[in-house]
Symmetry: C2
Subunit: 623 residues, 2 copies
């Protein structure tokens, strides 16, 4: 991996930073954030501007270029990678280390008095703008919006913004028509006394209209915005994909419709001017609802007095609570996904001892088995296929330089998932194809105890997920072990594999309360640097629980695993389990055998079925 | 309880709201918050201004008086009490109910255009001012500081501000001299590059100077402020108490001292002008450190650019970590406290069946036994002595109207504590003097399991207390039960019984990480409205734990109970305990018997000793 040579690019960028063609006044610094205009976690190649200018292509990082300097802020996951990928023009700012300055402090220390700092107002979220603008202003500088993205002006071979065909989802997948979703949204708007709602997140647009796309890898979304009024629907989307008869039919574009359900299709690029027009036409007390993570550009389009900003939009919250059609779809997707993984693990069990299976081969094989399943669309994220010490790198993705061969002497960790038309999966299993050491089994068993503690937890309706996080750690803590990531994230329904507003993590306090129908992951782990990684992850559905006293009718909740893939019993030290935990494992494996066994049988996958039966033998308690 | 007639008072208040003698311009509304100028939880009679104007004397509530209206905001604990204590001039605003307007919204709805809303700038915390001022401004009104407290101008028989003698604490109690505390504070100031620190909380002043007072009931504090510079110490305090030779000697007021330790004593009322002088003399980059909960008046004395505000001050954090002298003092205090409670419970066991013991008599008896102990100063809060249905009222305090007689048919809950010169106690025990029902035992045992889960928890150094809260609820949750309060609060060392910055509660995310030497309460409960209340509370010390793997040298923590009072085994359903929990109870009782037994013996309290021995018999596991 040799660094990208950026001398010429930086020279060009510094020129356009002074060019009256692009900036009203020269800017002395230009900020290049990671994101796209929708604050997406995964971005399209055309939005990888920070990677283009610096060479560093990790998922998180902010570049700032001044007349003299070029600096990159990233976190601990990426210190090594960024150092390898960037040339000497760049200074690496290691976030989280004590002596690393913040972007604001660094700017103040290097800029000449009264400087202008430029940023693309579409890429920077409003809250971030506010913070940085305030810090710069108090030091005598100015943060200024630069309309034309300066990277784009020098990125001659910038890939086109993707504009792939859309998939329409009918009621059997979505359970609710887009019209009914609009009705529900308008009723939420009426409750909060807002007249307009601006949909800026890509998964929210997709969910609202029951459409999917493939503009961004792993996330079945498409570039679009929407503005919903009490009587109008405006969808901002490019390309001839709206010419597709199936899409026109789905959105009833050519039907005679009540005017309040008539969708006006507008160019993607016209969102700002349309929103400005909305903003200009407001009377006092008329409000426009936006996510507080929407871009500065869109937020500014609405005069401050008319903005209604919330951390979670009504769509985000509605989307998180899956209806029965979505839940059933998720169940089907997880059954198919389990079939693929039974095939994979059966295959690995035979092939690993031969010493020919690398991490990349295993990941490809997993994708191959998944792609054989009905309604498979793509993977839901880059497969983490890691053996031995690579397993301790939490966000590892095998590349030729690091690719390791699986063996009977090392623990293998596979964190993978897929998009099916009926649901999204995300599962981690940790396997040993030889004989695990007592220490490896001990650690695995603590992680399993944590996984079970969350999965079997019973809690009152309205409990926030972060209150469950410590349950996952208690067994590890008792022995002085821990893991440095959250325990779970929300999962979309044939949508983003990571979604808000719920989750299970010690890191946040702003999650929304769990309610029946929400779907989250349960994935505690343990990582021994340089040796191995362990993680056990199921996707689980929040369901009503039966309790003796039912919280005085407040209602009880618990989780039901949607993921049905055996947990390797060879890795379990049964003596460390309580009888209750032992029963949980046996019950879980019985369900795996019944549900996945029937599907393997149906698909005629007899060898994998035999593997499943072997792997779901009940645990015998030793004491 | 008949309501206070406030017609005349409100008339007077409305007059002074327009009187040029007190206000520059008439104010159309006047806010009367609960607190004092130090944001104290417990306040002195002269600060009970809201109670004076309204009649409502609960611990939380804000009154707002306009030309036409008088309204009182309070929370669910006080709806009934406020309704009883206030006359028809007042509208009760029930906080937490859906239709109750916020103070800001209500003001906006009732005020004529362009109104002025007055408030005493010493009583309102800066953050609250900011929020309210913003809301009013955006509706065209103004929040204005009214220097003279308008309630005080009409409160003709207002009690004097207390000015009681001070207690000096020597090194055997405090472990660290006030000089060394000043040195440590200045080093924290240097770290943060601030030149001045303003001490506004009463317990912080008391802790810093190793002085105690009795200006406020239950809290051994005195009215004072301090401003600490890098070379100066200014103490703002009234009365002739600084003439006391012991105090002069303690503070070395008459000694030849290095100038940076020379204490300048100034009148309490001169804090504002002195702070304004400090503010006026600052050069760029010179900062003044204040709590973000300090009053608006003091915060405003420092120009905005020079303020350094934090939620927890360095004193608050240092005070929370007890040194070995303080810890030893707390141990001694808890031993004495346990002796008093053994006497009490032994006495109750004999007297309750006679039907002559009321809640008030029991509370008084508890105080009597405590007052017999060495270095007893006063109670640390109003005793919660409650039997039967009264136990379900979480903040109950017996008064003649509610006073119930203890019986062999009801559960009795006693939450009480004291201030001793060597430490502060706070303990809750739930007892039955007859035969508890199976359901009562079941609930008690779940609460006990929660208590043990927290007390025995092992967790990595740096864990915040709120992450432990769910451990206390897990056993209750499993059966569909819960309690609607936090699990623990910080406890001062011969200081306030509630102190920051640590605690164990689902409600906060802003607590500081737990570290060895911190002291918190562990007090889960269960409350059955109209029937009974159960709570089991120990004060526990955070101590290093021994674990197998010690979090890779990050270090492990756990708790050691300081409270050593038997937990009534009659209330325990042993079948619901695990072996580990059973062992915990037996170990705890063994320690109670050894430590408290020895002290009872030493004090010649033989009957109470026999009671202790009976109550600490080991649990036999049934299965």
């Amino acid at each position: 991996m040799s660094p990208k040579i950026t001398t010429e690019l930086l020279k060009q960028l510094r020129q356009v930073m002074k060019s009256p063609k692009y900036v009203q006044e020269p800017v002395q610094a230009y900020i290049v954030p990671s994101g796209d205009a929708h604050q997406s976690e995964y971005i399209a190649p055309c939005d990888c501007r920070r990677a283009f200018i610096s060479g560093f292509d990790g998922s998180a990082g902010t570049a700032i270029v001044t007349e003299q300097h070029a600096a990159m802020w990233t976190d601990g996951r990426y210190f090594l990678q960024a150092a390898h990928q960037m040339d000497n023009n760049w200074t690496l700012m290691k976030m989280g280390l004590k002596d690393t300055p913040t972007q604001e402090d660094w700017l103040v220390s290097v800029l000449p008095e009264g400087s202008k700092v430029g940023v693309d107002p579409f890429i920077i979220p409003a809250d971030q703008w506010k913070r940085m603008s305030k810090a710069l202003r108090s030091a005598g500088h100015d943060l200024v919006p630069v309309k034309e993205n300066l990277i784009d002006t020098i990125w001659t071979d910038c890939p086109q913004r993707p504009c792939k065909p859309l998939i329409t989802l009918d009621l059997s997948y979505t359970g609710v028509s887009w019209r009914d979703k609009i009705v529900a949204l308008r009723s939420k708007m009426a409750e909060r006394k807002v007249l307009w709602f601006v949909v800026t997140a890509l998964d929210e647009v997709a969910w609202l209209f029951n459409l999917r796309g493939s503009d961004v890898e792993y996330n079945p979304v498409f570039f679009a915005y929407a503005i919903i009024g009490m009587n109008t629907i405006r969808l901002f989307i490019d390309g001839d994909r709206m010419m597709d008869p199936a899409v026109r039919e789905h959105l009833q574009l050519d039907s005679t419709l009540e005017p309040e359900f008539k969708i006006q299709v507008l160019p993607y690029g016209s969102i700002l001017s349309e929103l400005q027009a909305v903003g200009a036409g407001l009377s006092p007390k008329e409000k426009v609802w936006l996510s507080d993570k929407a871009s500065y550009a869109l937020t500014e389009a609405i005069p401050k007095a008319y903005r209604y900003l919330t951390p979670y939009t009504p769509i985000c919250i509605a989307k998180a609570v899956k209806n029965s059609s979505e839940t059933e779809g998720m169940r089907r997707a997880h059954i198919k996904d389990a079939v693929a993984l039974c095939e994979l693990f059966n295959w690995l069990e035979k092939e690993v001892p031969k010493g020919t299976v690398t991490e990349i081969i295993a990941a490809d094989k997993a994708e191959e088995f998944r792609s054989q399943q009905k309604d498979f669309v793509e993977l839901s994220f880059a497969t983490i296929s890691s053996t031995g010490p690579n397993g301790a790198i939490i966000h590892y993705k095998p590349v030729p330089e690091t690719n390791r061969t699986l063996s009977v002497n090392e623990i293998y960790l596979l964190d993978s998932g897929a998009q099916y038309k009926d649901g999204t999966t995300d599962v981690t299993r940790t396997m040993h194809f030889g004989t695990p050491s007592a220490y490896e089994k001990e650690c695995f068993t603590y992680v399993l105890k944590g996984h079970i503690a969350v999965s079997a937890a019973i809690f009152p309706n309205g409990t926030k997920g972060h209150l469950l996080d410590s349950f996952a750690r208690s067994a590890l803590w008792d022995c002085g072990l821990d893991y440095l990531h959250g325990t779970g994230h929300g999962v979309g329904s044939f949508l983003n594999v990571h979604e808000g507003p719920c989750g299970i993590s010690y890191k946040t306090f702003a999650d929304e309360p769990l309610e029946a129908g929400m779907i989250v992951s349960d994935e505690p782990g343990y990582y021994e640097d340089g040796s191995f990684g362990i993680r056990i992850e199921n996707v689980v559905l929040v369901i009503p629980a039966e309790t003796k006293y039912n919280f005085k009718n407040r209602g009880s909740l618990t989780f039901e695993p949607l993921t049905l893939v055996p947990i390797q019993t060879k890795m379990i030290d049964v003596n460390l389990l309580t009888q209750k935990e032992c029963n949980w494992v046996n019950d879980y494996h019985r369900t795996c055998r019944e549900v996945i066994g029937a599907e393997l049988e149906r698909q005629g996958r007899h060898e994998a079925l035999q593997w499943l039966i072997r792997e779901t033998e009940p645990l015998g308690r030793v004491q």
